[in-house]
C-alpha cells in the first residue's frame, strides 16, 4: 500500500507498506533522508519491514517504534553480558542474541599482557559493541575510545539480574524517564540497564531488591495512572 509519509507519522504501519516522501524539486541540492530501524530501501522506494508506529524526528529521521523482545546486536549499544567461557585470549559472553559475543582480555582499563583483568565465568559485564553486523561474530569492549572504563566492566556482587522487553529498557534510558524518577522517591538502589533487555538492581536489603525487580517487570503493561497508584502503595508499605 502506497501512502504519504506525513499522514502516517504516529500511526501503526504494517510490513509491505510503501512510503512516499514529498521531494522538493525546485531546489538543486539533494535531500538526505535517514531510515531508522524497521524501514528498508528497495531501489527508489522506502518500505516498512516491521509492524509498529512510524515516528519522525526533525529534520529527516524516520523510524518504526516497535515492541520487541529478542535482542539483535547493534554497534555502539551498551549491554549486560554474562561470561560463559574463557578461551585463550578472549572471553565468550552471552548477550541474548543469536550468537555469543567475544570480549578480548585487553579491552579493559589498565589491562596489559602481564596484568590480566579479574574476570571469571559467570560474571556480569557491562560492555559496548564495537563490531556488530549480520556477517561477523559480535565483539564487545569495556573501554571507550580514550581507553577509560567509563562505568563499563565487571560488576554485580549481590543484586538481581532479570529480563524485560526492549521497549521498556528504551523508556527507562530516555532522558526524562518518569518511571526512574518515581522509583527514586521510594528508596535508594543501584541499577544497571542493558539495551539487550537485561536489568540488574541492588538495594539495601534482599526484600527491597525484589520489590524493585517486581515493579520494573510489571511496568511494561501499565498506564501512567496504574503505575503511580502501585508506586504509592509500595512506598506506604515500605515506610
Amino acid at each position: 500500500m502506497l501512502c504519504c509519509v506525513k499522514e502516517k507519522i504516529g500511526e501503526a504501519v504494517l510490513p509491505g507498506d510503501l512510503l512516499a516522501f514529498e521531494i522538493q524539486k525546485s531546489e538543486n541540492k539533494r535531500e538526505k533522508l535517514i531510515c531508522g530501524p524497521g524501514l528498508r530501501r528497495d531501489g527508489e522506494d522506502v518500505f516498512v519491514c516491521k509492524s509498529g508506529i512510524l515516528r519522525h524526528k526533525e529534520p529527516n529521521l524516520y523510524w518504526i517504534d516497535l515492541q520487541q523482545r529478542r535482542y539483535v546486536p547493534a554497534k555502539g549499544e551498551s549491554v549486560i553480558g554474562i561470561v560463559t567461557a574463557k578461551s585463550g585470549d578472549v572471553f565468550k559472553v552471552d548477550v541474548g542474541g543469536s550468537e555469543q559475543a567475544s570480549l578480548s582480555y585487553l579491552a579493559f582499563e589498565g589491562a596489559t599482557k602481564r596484568n590480566r583483568p579479574n574476570v571469571q565465568v559467570g560474571d556480569l559485564v557491562y560492555a559496548q559493541f564495537i563490531i556488530a553486523n549480520k556477517d561477523m561474530e559480535p565483539e564487545l569492549v569495556c573501554i571507550d575510545s580514550c581507553g577509560r572504563a567509563n562505568g563499563m566492566g565487571v560488576f554485580g556482587a549481590g543484586g538481581l539480574l532479570f529480563k524485560v522487553s526492549l521497549g521498556l529498557v528504551r523508556k527507562l534510558l530516555s532522558p526524562q524517564s518518569e518511571i526512574v524518577k518515581d522509583l527514586e522517591k521510594i528508596f535508594p538502589f543501584e541499577m544497571v540497564i542493558g539495551l539487550n533487555g537485561r536489568i540488574w538492581v541492588k538495594a539495601k536489603t534482599t526484600q527491597q531488591t525484589l520489590i524493585v525487580a517486581n515493579i520494573l517487570e510489571s511496568c511494561e503493561n501499565m498506564t501512567t495512572e496504574q503505575r503511580r497508584s502501585i508506586f504509592g502503595r509500595v512506598s506506604e508499605n515500605v515506610l
Binding site: M1, E11, A12, L14, P15, G16, G38, R40, D42, F47, C49, K50, S51, G52, I53, L66, Q67, Q68, R69, R70, V72, G97, S98, E99, K134, D135, G167, N221
Partner: protein, 223 residues
C-alpha cells in the same frame, strides 16, 4: 456492516466466518499469537533470530523451522505436509537474508479444528511473526474454499462442509498485490473453477488484511 467487538473479531457479511486474534499471549516465545476462524483455533509461537545448530545453519540466510502439533495424537504425514506449505510461505515473506546463520522456529498448536485448518495456521503464523518483530517484506494470509457436489464455491468451509465437498483448496495470498504465494488443493475441479476460487479468495483476503491493520493499530495505540 462490519462490527468490531472487544476481543477483536470481525463479522464479514456471512462470507468468511467470524474471525479474531490475540497478540503476545505467551510469555516465553519472542512472538506469539492465536487466530480463531469460526470454531477453528490455532496458537502460534515464534522464537528467533536464535542460535542454530551448525549442521542446519545457512551461511547467507536464516533457517526457518516449522512444527505443527495436532490436537490429539502424534504429528503424522498430514502435519508434515502442512508444515512444508507454511514454511515455504513464511520463507517467501520473511527477509531471511538479514539474519544469516541464525534459526527462526515457528511452533503451531491446533487448539480446535473445524475446517480451514491450513488457512488458520497461515494467519496465526503471520500474526506471530509480526508480533516477534521479524523483518518481512510483505504480509500473507490464508484463505480456504471448497467446491461442493453442485459446483457452488463455499468460502471458509467447516469440517462437515469439507467432507461433503468434491474439492478443497487453500491459498496463501500476499498483502502487496494479492497474488497467490502457495496453493494446496485436494479433490477434482476444472481449470475454470480454480481461477474462480482464486478470485473469490483474493476478494476475501482484503478483509483479513484490513483486520491485521486494525488489530495492530489497536495494539500499539493502547500501549
Amino acid at each position: 456492516m462490519m462490527q468490531v467487538t472487544q476481543s477483536g473479531s470481525f463479522q464479514h457479511a456471512a462470507v468468511l466466518r467470524e474471525f479474531g486474534c490475540e497478540h503476545s499471549l505467551l510469555s516465553r516465545p519472542d512472538g506469539s499469537a492465536s487466530f480463531v476462524q469460526g470454531d477453528t483455533t490455532v496458537l502460534a509461537g515464534v522464537y528467533g533470530p536464535a542460535e542454530v545448530m551448525v549442521s542446519k545453519e545457512s551461511f547467507d540466510r536464516a533457517t526457518l523451522e516449522v512444527t505443527l502439533k495436532p490436537k490429539v495424537g502424534m504429528p503424522g504425514v498430514a502435519e508434515r505436509s502442512k508444515e512444508q506449505c507454511i514454511r515455504q510461505t513464511c520463507e517467501a515473506a520473511l527477509l531471511t537474508r538479514l539474519h544469516p546463520r541464525t534459526s527462526i522456529t515457528l511452533s503451531l498448536q491446533t487448539v480446535h479444528d473445524d475446517g480451514a485448518l491450513l488457512a488458520c495456521c497461515l494467519n496465526a503464523a503471520c500474526m506471530a511473526l509480526m508480533d516477534a518483530g521479524l523483518p518481512m517484506h510483505c504480509l500473507f494470509c490464508g484463505v480456504c474454499c471448497a467446491i461442493d457436489q453442485q459446483g457452488t464455491i463455499k468460502l471458509d468451509p467447516t469440517a462437515r462442509e469439507e467432507k461433503e465437498s468434491r474439492a478443497v483448496m487453500t491459498f496463501a495470498l500476499d498483502s502487496t498485490d494479492c497474488r497467490v504465494m502457495m496453493s494446496s488443493t485436494k479433490g477434482s475441479y476444472t481449470a475454470a473453477e480454480l481461477q474462480q476460487c482464486i478470485a473469490v479468495c483474493q476478494r476475501a483476503s482484503e478483509s483479513i488484511f484490513q483486520f491485521y491493520r486494525d488489530s495492530v493499530s489497536r495494539r500499539y495505540c493502547k500501549a
